[in-house]
């Protein structure tokens, strides 16, 4: 579904991604871990099409399409979704209106008619329950004055509404208490199926007890330096990242 080949990217002249290779198939869940500042959010941003990043080398293919050539909106319409680490607040844009617009723009792209008001409401109700998203938040401005947990739930609620093929969750667990974490993870797990893929970015192993990944990658200094299964996450939790960094330096000095 998604193929990343030797991806290099920079922001404001600073090299951030230095040759990422990653293959994600249908139905898989990949976790990306790594210390702060290693480039996890940058990778997510490049995939979603944030334009302050410049791709200097490499390719990204999504279902046979050259992802890097698409506008951010077309990437979303093709089925890529990014749950932001820090969702923005947009005063004056109501959550409901925003979602309706997004959903209908995606439907138009796919050649579908806009959803009837009734169907839209039904869908909204159903998906709200998935992440226990309060309906009184629906009529409020997008994320305005939401608590950290409400913002993260809103991201997952949007994910459920827009039903993408590939969802990238950037530190959706940071700042969540254990109850919220359970709710959010349960929501994500209910959305998992054989057709959908997830990239779960986190630096806490805790999340991966709830959303169990097929693969765990360690991103460090703009590169994936190790790939393993969920046991790797446990090992990282116990031993930290230093042993990996040492392994890396040994390899590089050979």
């Amino acid at each position: 579904m998604l193929t990343i080949k030797n991806l290099h990217a920079e922001v404001e002249g600073k090299k951030i991604l230095k040759g990422i290779n990653l293959e994600i198939n249908k139905g898989e869940t990949h976790a990306i871990m790594g210390p702060n500042g290693s480039g996890k959010s940058s990778l997510a941003s490049v995939l979603a099409g944030r334009d302050n990043y410049t791709v200097t080398e490499g390719e990204v293919w999504f279902n046979g399409k050259n992802l890097l050539e698409l506008s951010p909106e077309d990437r979303a319409r093709e089925g890529v979704f990014l749950a932001f680490q820090y969702p923005v607040e947009i005063p004056g844009v109501s959550n409901l209106n925003f979602l309706k617009t997004a959903l209908n723009e995606i439907r138009t792209y796919k050649g579908l008619p806009p959803l009837e008001a009734k169907e839209f409401l039904k869908l909204t109700k159903e998906k709200q329950q998935l992440v226990d998203f309060h309906s009184n938040l629906m009529n409020r401005s997008l994320n305005e004055g939401f608590s950290g947990g409400e913002k993260k739930r809103n991201e997952i609620f949007q994910l459920a509404m827009l039903d993408p093929q590939l969802a990238i969750l950037d530190e959706t667990d940071s700042g969540l208490d254990i109850d919220a974490l359970r709710i959010v993870s349960n929501g994500v797990n209910k959305l998992r199926d054989a057709e959908k893929s997830f990239v779960v970015i986190t630096h806490y192993q805790r999340l991966l007890e709830y959303i169990i990944p097929d693969f765990v990658h360690v991103l460090y200094n703009g590169r994936i330096i190790k790939t393993g299964t969920k046991e790797l996450a446990l090992e990282l939790e116990e031993r930290g990242y230093d042993w990996l960094k040492e392994e890396l330096h040994l390899k590089e000095s050979v």
Partner: protein, 438 residues
């Protein structure tokens, strides 16, 4: 003499001594003295230039010269079809149609009932409300275009609500501006709300687009007496074939509330709004809210003046601009707090989104405060869309234009959301979205 009357407007205004006086005699009403005094004032002050303090950023002469305008005093007939586009969906209201300022009774439904006087201004020049209030708003004397209007206006709408009279439905005034040849029209209105009266009045405009350019120099005086309340919405629909100087001069008395909302929409190349409020009583509330959404080479100048004469009054002014293409806006917010006006609360804010490459805003707060126990503030911003917000919306599949429309809607939200009539609120939001999605 007759040849003078067909002189192009600009020449008449600047050069010819007798032609203007001849125009005044044409009016032939009981207001000759008032008209002649006004004409003398107009001549003494003269047409504004860029050196005139109040007109430093707006070159009106350029627009007066642009076409060979002539005074148009007589009424023009229009059909119901012409007025149809003005309909505000779902709004239950009294609709009143004015064509170049002349009441078109055949197309109007005038509210009737005890305490309501409403009709052509020309038919009410001896009414007590008229003789008491006409041309009495203190700021008009120094406003040169208003003096020109006083000297030569043709007609307009007179509304007087007796004490305790409440209009149950909004009045929707549809101004049609139309002429076969370039015309200079001067509507003149006077609305008086006596003690404890209340009304909601919506003004919108229609400009049949096959017609020649009209230049309107209109003046509206409103008087809001003790404990009365006026909600006033002015929607300047905008058209290529229209130019406008629009003067609204209000007076408020004790405990009264005046809410003025002004919406300037695209396409009219030149709009100058003079809005002034004189607070003649204490404990009043004034809200002045405005949105200007301009495109192409549009020039929109909002010139506002809050005159705090009496103590314990509250005024809040918020103007927001969205400037597309090469449009150009001027905002002047004058707040004068007299020495007697202790415990004044006066707030002012002007925010702008500069979206066009060549869009420009010139914003001038002018605070003159002579009382010591007051709360006053003013603020100004000009900026673009937040990139973060745009990216967020686009990352959800929302295209760039639709995202901009949502953002503009959000930007204007704190004003549109305050509109007290849901149908009008929807109408305005639709208009704004329609313009942005175009």
């Amino acid at each position: 003499m007759t040849s003078d009357m067909t002189l192009p407007l600009y020449q008449t205004l600047t050069a010819d001594e007798t032609a203007l006086s001849a125009q005044v005699s044409l009016a032939g009403d009981n207001l000759q003295d008032i008209r002649r005094t006004a004409l003398e004032r107009f001549k003494a002050i003269g047409l504004p230039t860029l050196k005139t303090e109040e007109w430093r950023f707006t070159n009106i002469q350029r627009y007066l010269k642009e076409f060979s305008y002539e005074f148009l005093h007589s009424a023009v007939q229009v059909s119901a079809d012409t007025v149809a586009p003005a309909t505000i969906a779902g709004l239950d209201c009294y609709r009143i149609v004015l064509v170049n300022g002349h009441l078109e009774t055949a197309l109007s439904e005038l509210p009737a009932g005890k305490g309501i006087t409403i009709g052509a201004l020309s038919a009410h020049t001896t009414a007590p409300g008229f003789t008491t209030w006409f041309n009495e708003q203190p700021h008009l004397a120094s406003a040169v275009l208003a003096q020109l209007n006083t000297a030569l206006f043709a007609d307009g709408l007179y509304i007087e609500l007796a004490a305790n009279t409440v209009l149950e439905k909004p009045v929707h005034i549809v101004h049609v501006y139309t002429s076969n040849t370039p015309a200079f029209v001067q509507p003149r209105h006077l609305w008086v709300l006596n003690r404890c009266a209340a009304a909601t009045i919506i003004e919108t405009t229609v400009h049949p687009n096959s017609q020649a350019v009209t230049f309107a120099n209109s003046v509206l005086e409103t008087v809001v007496m003790e404990n009365a309340e006026l909600w006033h919405y002015n929607v300047q629909q905008g058209a290529e074939n229209f130019r406008e100087v629009h003067t609204t001069a209000a007076q408020q008395y004790k405990d009264s509330r005046y809410h003025h909302y002004n919406f300037t929409l695209p396409n009219t190349p030149f709009t100058r709004n003079n809005l002034s409020v004189a607070l003649k009583g204490s404990h009043t509330e004034t809200n002045l809210k405005g949105i200007y959404l301009a495109n192409k080479h549009q020039h929109v100048d909002n010139h506002t003046f809050m005159d705090h004469i009496m103590p314990d009054c509250y005024s809040n002014e918020l103007y927001k601009g969205v400037l597309l293409d090469s449009s150009n806006a001027v905002f002047t917010g004058k707040i004068l707090v007299h020495q007697e006006a202790q415990k004044t609360n006066a707030f002012q804010q002007n925010n702008n989104l500069l979206l066009g490459d060549k869009a420009d805003i010139n914003s001038q707060p002018q605070l003159e405060i002579y009382a010591d126990d007051v709360k006053c503030s003013h603020g100004f911003t000009a900026g673009q869309f937040s990139e973060e917000s745009m990216f967020y919306l686009r990352s959800r599949g929302i295209g760039e234009d639709a995202a901009k429309a949502l953002m503009v809607n959000a930007f204007s939200h704190d004003i549109t959301n305050d509109v007290s009539i849901p149908e009008l609120q929807q109408h305005l939001q639709d208009q704004i979205a329609g313009i942005m999605n175009n």
